[in-house]
Symmetry: C2
Subunit: 311 residues, 2 copies
Amino acid sequence: MATQEKKPENLQHSNEYSIHLSNPNISEMKEDILYHFNLGTKTHDLQAMFGNVKFVCVGGSPTRMKAFTGYIGEELGLSQPGMDHPNICEGTDRYAMYKIGPVLSISHGMGVPSIGIMLHELIKLLYHAKCSDVVIIRIGTCGGIGLEPGSVVLTRKATDSCFKPEFEQFVLGKRIVRSTELSDDLNQELMACAKELNEFNTVVANTMCTLDFYEGQARLDGAFCSYTDKDKQEYLQAAYDAGIRNIEMESSIFAAMCGASGIKAAVVCVTLLNRLKEDQISSSHEVLVEYQKRPQKLVGHFIKKRLGRKA
Amino acid sequence: MATQEKKPENLQHSNEYSIHLSNPNISEMKEDILYHFNLGTKTHDLQAMFGNVKFVCVGGSPTRMKAFTGYIGEELGLSQPGMDHPNICEGTDRYAMYKIGPVLSISHGMGVPSIGIMLHELIKLLYHAKCSDVVIIRIGTCGGIGLEPGSVVLTRKATDSCFKPEFEQFVLGKRIVRSTELSDDLNQELMACAKELNEFNTVVANTMCTLDFYEGQARLDGAFCSYTDKDKQEYLQAAYDAGIRNIEMESSIFAAMCGASGIKAAVVCVTLLNRLKEDQISSSHEVLVEYQKRPQKLVGHFIKKRLGRKA
């Protein structure tokens, strides 16, 4: 039997409106090494480096997150076209991290464990840096269900592969379950931005988060396939009927960890294909590149509005 | 209830002693796009590019896999020091891939989903390339349990976080379970190589594979921690008593997918710390770099012996 996790009593706050660190050990440690970032509390002045961060944007690909940094820098008038942005996590190739003004961009690789390690270290980083009022947004790619390719989905709830809105995890060999609801307010704010932009179809819907891209997403083209096209169609239709409009591989742990830390968060993913029609991502490179810019544009518009810049 | 998966009846062989592709759809597809490798059957002559591959070495970090390519190239007399090796997966930053003679090196990122996507596409690649007699070895890093840091562990069985030697997966929302046993023969061959080298402690043992690095591995220093040091010690001691000597994040799906495809496989990981004593990886950069070379040295020795080179 799983136990629904209770909120821990001993939340450690860096200050008001700030990061809830549900681990009393951290404040007692002489040094905290954020190993996969190649950063640490003794080797780096994290408050000086990150204290003014208000927006953290995360995505799978390091190249895309670097490009986003250049884009948002130009939009905010903080960088020039072609300006190089140094990788703060130089010295490790686990993740890449860039910063421009109040915006931090980090790559998280693919899948729940990869983004999970990053989020543990990011939440500790924001705590050590005494950040407050931070919003974290995942900008990613996904498969759509019954949507035109290129549509952008704002995740209401992340579900598992049985369509349940929860994230299951094993701690000391025991199953615990965390909620995967995301901020309604933030989704409404993002949807208003999408309407102002009026450049692509945007919906708020449930997102299925899987641990595998092929069998786990009912694809017929993996190295293994023990089901028929009919089985696949029935499964994807059942997902559609459960309010799911896209499938990706990070949203559940992202929603769970941000939620449990009291951080407002959103998942903004563009669909690269319609899984009711196809399994392979076969659009041209140019089309895919344009699709991948859509979450960046939407989140760029949101950040500008929040900062009171002319959007 | 989980069902133990039966071997599918319609295995697709590329030829004898070769890759079992447990998906009858692939041979009927006009084109197979290996999306995360940026390779495809129409755009690339996979047989010409990869037909002679006999050893595939995989590891989390792209930098480390590039370094391994240089190392093994020199060891086999196929490359010079400082020679550059092009990334075959240029055009995507999801994985990096290098080839020198019969040795293919690929990075897989961190965690089960990330290595899973790579293995689906790798197994299809080897099938399309009509490879035979291929051995796949994961060379990685891990936390040790009761071993001196720098020890190398050859995985006998990969276990889940409840110490069960199985890999659980959800396909069409239903739980299936795959075996995670690795090749005894290959472990014996590798152990013989370790004895010949006689440079570092090497053991054959069970490996626990987790979906998280912090809570999932009973660390006290994550963004969340709801258990005591005593709880942690009891859990790690129970793992030790179950024959587990190291913890990492990819071995279970690696063993399961290679096994189900009829590919001989091994997991060779070096321990960066002893988890009975510490949680943070605090050794110096130089010490960690030397540790990370140990699996490369062992596997390099193994490859040279297999190829009949003077080891």
